[in-house]
Symmetry: C2
Subunit: 332 residues, 2 copies
């Protein structure tokens, strides 16, 4: 039932740009623009693995606010931000030595580290190519600043692995970098394309930033309680990789000294097991840590909605509002 | 003696921009612009490892042709192209699982694969940031096209590993991508900064392309005969990594069927040894394969010189000409 309600939600959100959204696959393929079969194979595998495409969706929705003629630039931007996202997934899987993503084996396990790193670099470059083709320096500035923050965020995350003393502030700094910065830049860039100026540009940027933070926090909550298997999201992945995310930080704050010490010990184990994860899950349940984490996500969702109040009311804005609510409810 | 003559050569080449060249280190550090100690440590290690900095040198020389006031843009461009080059080195070392580069342990072996991949991504992004700060779409187009070709070239090289049937044409396609494209784009971009137009832009691009091809061929020859240790260049690295470069392709063309078969067998061994490399070296000597490979490099050096004939005669052009000769003579 929950899934049914969700998919209706997403269909409604997509409505103002459903035609363009369906065209994305074709643009992904044509903009990939390579004669090297290996790059094509890896990319097709990633397409088949079916991401949520939230970044291109945001671009298409915001660009659709414009009364101007639809140009190819919105597709260039939509594809570029998804290429950048895909490039980071390829590199992350090598960095994290992941096995699965969204229920599929990751490219790294099929083709090895070398093609994953290099295909990531290829996608990264193609993304900038597309942005240069748009030829808007404001967009180039927003996106290149965001990718710098992305790389910085990923490195901070790596440095803070296994550090159970990570604070909420440090966590937010990491997820701003790795997730919110590019979503924020995607929204601002699409607003440029739609012809917005000044405070409207900032409103879309702010919407994107808060949506991105909310999105990542929910993602991190799902890592502790998704109905694994059904939705293809492996539970406990972050825990096993030593990634300290908000649910654990919130939990630590709720524990007494002895319990905190025990959780730290578990995290620092050479090879934590399912039983360790279950113990942490029990503590999470006893202390309502996931609900309390979701409260933080809700605050960012509200901030995203608030940012939108200054932009013109139209079908796109309605969808963006629904999206800010939808990300709180998603189960995968 | 040879080393002495070389260093005089390089000093003379540097002369028109010796002041700016010395300032590069400061710009590298300030443009890196990070508060993350790990990124700084990795970058300082790379600075200490002392690359040739041929890309920034080209940028500074060509930009110096301009009669206009020196602006910071030439440093932004010089640093950006070196960042891009450094990013590919970081990723290549992970891909190749290298141990040493220029007599130093590679970052990958000191800090691991994750920081190397992610710091490479960071440098890559910072480079585009700097280019966006310059704000010249022609430059952004040239460089982003080149980085796409770089990634493509690296992937082609990977796909053709251990393929002793690689042709000269296929080899040139790989080295155009991985080396010549960015050198070519660096030259063209610097020419934009210096205010050149039309055929002059193309002349610098063509100079860079030919210089880059020459440079890479000499590099590949040095892998078979550098005086290892003294100059820190490990001999036989390409061979051991299964990289089929021009010396081997030239050799294969000079061998009879049985000898070719033997060389292929050696290349396909699970773990080729020093003794295998020595056998191939003996064949190279008997057939003058390295001299014949250098003949190809000389042709590209000549083409680089020819491309310069149409650009204004000044101190920069003289240095660029000397550089096209110098790359043929370098021993490290």
């Amino acid at each position: 039932v929950a899934q049914h309600r969700q998919s209706i939600g997403l269909d409604l959100i997509l409505k103002p740009v459903s035609k363009e959204f369906k065209e994305l696959d074709g643009y992904f393929r044509s903009y990939l623009n390579t004669d090297v079969p290996l790059i094509n194979s890896i990319f097709e595998h990633l397409l088949d693995s079916g991401g949520k495409r939230i970044r291109p969706l945001l671009v298409l929705l915001i660009a659709a606010s414009s009364r101007e003629k639809v140009t190819e630039d919105r597709f260039r931007l939509a594809v570029a931000v998804e290429f950048l996202h895909t490039a980071t997934l390829l590199h992350d899987d090598v960095v994290d030595q992941s096995d699965m993503r969204r229920g599929n084996r990751v490219a790294y396990r099929i083709w090895g580290a070398e093609p994953s790193v290099l295909s990531g670099d290829y996608l990264y470059s193609r993304a900038f190519n597309l942005l240069v083709d748009i030829g808007h320096l404001g967009i180039l500035d927003a996106i290149s600043t965001a990718t710098t923050e992305m790389a910085r965020g990923e490195i901070l995350q790596l440095l803070r692995s296994y550090s159970t003393a990570t604070t909420v502030k440090e966590y937010l700094e990491v997820i701003h970098g790795k997730t919110a910065s590019i979503i924020s830049a995607s929204c601002k860039s699409a607003a440029y394309l739609a012809g917005f100026e000044g405070q409207h540009l900032e409103a879309f940027r702010e919407y994107g930033r808060n949506l991105g933070l909310c999105f990542q926090i929910v993602d991190d909550v799902l890592d502790y309680n998704a109905e694994g298997g059904v939705f293809g999201k492996a539970v406990g992945k972050d825990f096993l990789e030593g990634k300290i995310t908000l649910p654990l930080i919130v939990l630590m704050d709720l524990l007494n000294k002895d319990e905190r010490h025990m959780v730290s010990e578990i995290f620092l184990k050479d090879s934590p097991e399912k039983v360790d994860f279950k113990l942490i899950m029990r503590l999470m349940e006893n202390h309502n840590a996931l609900e309390k984490t979701m409260d933080v996500a809700k605050r960012f969702s509200s901030a995203a909605l608030k940012a939108l109040t200054s932009v013109p009311k139209d079908a796109s804005r309605e969808s963006l509002e629904s999206l800010a609510r939808y990300v709180l409810e998603r189960r995968s």
